[in-house]
């Protein structure tokens, strides 16, 4: 029982962390709440499925085509759709949710609303702590760990990462220091979308691919970034594992009430918000304080 919860928490938490880091990055830098984030995630999953199953390409090639394409799409969407209205909160939320709905309906129109699946990239399973774990889950965990470390290294050690963090702290001063803010924001959006696409690559063989697959993770990502604090990478990772723990505990302990998982996750969020209105590691700007 406990082992099951731990394994599922690690795998799901890792995927949520990948999605939440991207969501948090773009919010922290551009102050944009990108509700289309998991829309890009869905597009990448569909791309992977299309190249692997319909065109019969090698998994490696499929990933190599899908991830850059979706990233480019994200950058284009940011430049031409989100950037012009970036200042208005409600407009941005509406624009991004419309994008997500448009993606969903497009996928429905092209591939109809059937459920699709991708075979595991590495077949087989092994015994860990007395329960059988598929190799695909371990691969997913590995991808997540490597990507999170790479993102952390980029943010902490490179010049680009310093520029990103400076923009997040104060865009105006960053601009005065010679950092091109629009370019930084575009790069941020690229990184965020790429993270969503990689999450899709890691998760597509485990989850079912359908036009509706974007909304459950979006809810979870929202809950995670609010618990962790909008804009905080550390908060996103910790929040992801908290939420995954709550969700999977409910699913394992009360299998007949597995819809309560979302309820418990949201309750956890409400409690965190009442105790700390900015989330665990969030930074409230002066104008956002009450």
């Amino acid at each position: 029982m406990l082992e099951l919860i731990i394994i599922y928490t690690l795998v799901n938490g890792g995927i949520y962390a990948l999605l939440a880091i991207g969501f948090s990055l773009i919010f922290g830098n551009a102050r944009v709440i990108n509700l289309a984030h998991t829309g890009f995630f869905m597009l990448a999953a569909y791309g992977l499925w299309y190249f692997m199953r319909r065109l019969g390409l090698d998994p490696g090639w499929a990933i190599l085509i899908t991830v850059p394409t979706v990233t480019l799409l994200g950058i284009l969407a940011y430049r031409f759709l989100i950037n012009p209205i970036r200042e208005h909160l409600a407009a941005v939320l509406l624009m991004t949710i419309s994008l997500a709905i448009a993606f969903q309906q497009l996928m429905k129109a092209i591939f109809s609303s059937y459920y699709w699946a991708i075979p595991a990239l590495i077949p087989g399973f092994r015994n860990i702590l007395g329960i059988s774990v598929t190799n695909q889950m371990l691969l997913t965990l590995g991808i997540v760990a490597v990507v999170v470390i790479i993102v952390w290294l980029i943010l902490a050690k490179t010049k680009l990462g310093i520029a990103l963090r400076a923009t997040a702290q104060d865009a105006e001063v960053a601009n005065l220091m010679g950092i091109s803010v629009p370019r930084t924001l575009t790069i941020t959006m690229g990184i965020a979308t790429a993270l969503a696409a990689i999450a899709a690559v890691a998760v597509a063989p485990i989850w079912i691919i359908s036009p509706d697959m974007w909304s459950p993770p979006l809810v979870m990502v929202m809950v995670i970034v609010i618990i962790g604090g909008l804009g905080s990478i550390k908060g996103a990772i910790i929040g992801a594992f908290i939420v995954a723990l709550v969700e999977n505990s409910v699913k394992v302990l009360l299998p007949e009430y597995n819809y309560l998982a979302v309820v418990c996750a949201i309750l956890a969020m409400v409690i965190v918000l009442i105790v700390r209105p900015g989330g665990l590691f969030g930074v409230l700007f002066e104008e956002e304080k009450l």
Binding site: I33, I85, L93, M95, S98, I101, V262, P277, L290
Partner: protein, 356 residues
């Protein structure tokens, strides 16, 4: 009295195109059942009228008082399920009629609106939006978890119809819609001498600290906004359930919440008529266009896709909304006395100042 009404009509409605169009529109709605007898047309327009209440109540809560609520479906769904449960479990062995269940549903939604304030009013901006967005999903999880009580995915069916005939249902919804829109318009009218809420909502949206410095208890007015928004949204939800006959979980979905926002932003936010325009263009028009041959026409198949693309284009090219954009073309404000004039006038109709 009639002379006074005629005078009002002659001097403050006829010269202003916006008001004239609004009156023609409502008169047309009242005489439609006399012209056509097709139940489908009446049904679609009835549903549009219910959605108008839903959309306009979002505009009152989020547009006017600035509390951007992304979970408006919560009030809608709460009211719908209240009606459903009242039908499923008779109170003291009596099956309540629609005239009793609709007010109860609306009042429960009002209570939920006030209850949401406790966590919601501690937050602002993006945090408030994301928190409110999560509430209907939470209720959806509860509904799905306790299948025995709520019926789970299938929902509660066999709810009593609103009235016996389509025409009667049409008129009930139309009258409720007209009354609700009039009340909300008056409540948010910043120029009113008798009702202060409109002015205060504007003040809270523009600068809450300044409003507080003027001695306004902003928390109380925000709770009031949630209560009013919840009440009218609950009214819409209860009518909707009685029209369709089933209470299902889709009323609590994210798409439902965003429908209200899409309608209002399309028509023009912070303008009560924006929601009306949004619903009648994006819902009614698309329904009529998508009808023919069993909903298999192009518009019928891709309705949601078209809606999403239209919203993206509107946000990019007419950020203040289609309704406001058209109004700006039709009306011109006098620079000296601030009176509204028709677009065809060169001089103001009251003070004859040049309008150019």
């Amino acid at each position: 009295m009639f002379r006074r009404l005629f005078k009002d009509f002659r001097f403050s409605v006829l010269p202003v195109p916006g008001r004239l169009i609004a009156i023609i529109f409502f008169v047309a709605l009242f005489i439609i059942p006399l012209i056509t007898n097709q139940s489908y047309y009446l049904f679609v327009i009835t549903m549009s009228n219910i959605l108008v209440i839903f959309a306009v109540s979002w505009d009152l809560l989020s547009g006017y008082s600035g509390q951007v609520n992304f979970g408006h479906a919560l009030f809608f769904g709460v009211s719908a399920y209240t009606v459903g449960l009242l039908t499923k479990y008779p109170v003291f062995g009596v099956h309540l009629q629609p005239w009793a269940t609709i007010p109860i549903g609306a009042l429960v939604a009002t209570g939920v609106g006030v209850a949401t304030c406790f966590p919601a009013l501690r937050l602002r901006g993006p945090y408030l939006s994301l928190l409110t967005m999560a509430f209907p999903l939470m209720l959806m999880g509860l509904v799905m978890a306790f299948k025995g009580v709520t019926g789970g995915e299938e929902g509660i069916s066999n709810i009593l119809p609103l009235a016996a005939t389509y025409t009667a249902r049409y008129y009930i919804c139309l009258i409720v819609m007209t009354a609700a829109v009039l009340i909300m318009w008056k409540l948010t009218d910043a120029g009113s001498k008798y009702i202060r809420t409109g002015l205060i909502f504007h003040a809270i949206r523009e600068d809450e600290i300044a409003a507080r410095a003027l001695g306004i208890n902003t928390i109380r007015y925000k709770i009031l906004a949630f209560a009013i928004g919840g009440f009218f949204c609950g009214l819409a939800g209860a009518l909707y359930v009685h029209m369709l006959g089933t209470a299902s979980v889709s009323y609590l979905s994210m798409v439902m919440s965003f429908q209200a926002i899409i309608f209002v932003v399309f028509g023009g936010i912070v303008s009560i008529y924006g929601g009306v325009i949004g619903v009648y263009v994006l819902y009614t028009l698309l329904q009529f266009l998508g009808m023919g041959s069993g909903g298999s026409t192009f518009v019928g198949r891709y309705q949601l896709l078209i809606m999403a693309i239209v919203v993206i284009l509107v946000l990019l090219f007419m950020p203040e909304g289609v309704g406001v954009w058209i109004r700006d073309r039709l009306e011109r404000e006098c620079p000296r006395c601030k009176l509204t004039n028709g677009f065809w006038r060169r001089n103001c109709r009251a003070c004859s100042a040049s309008l150019h």
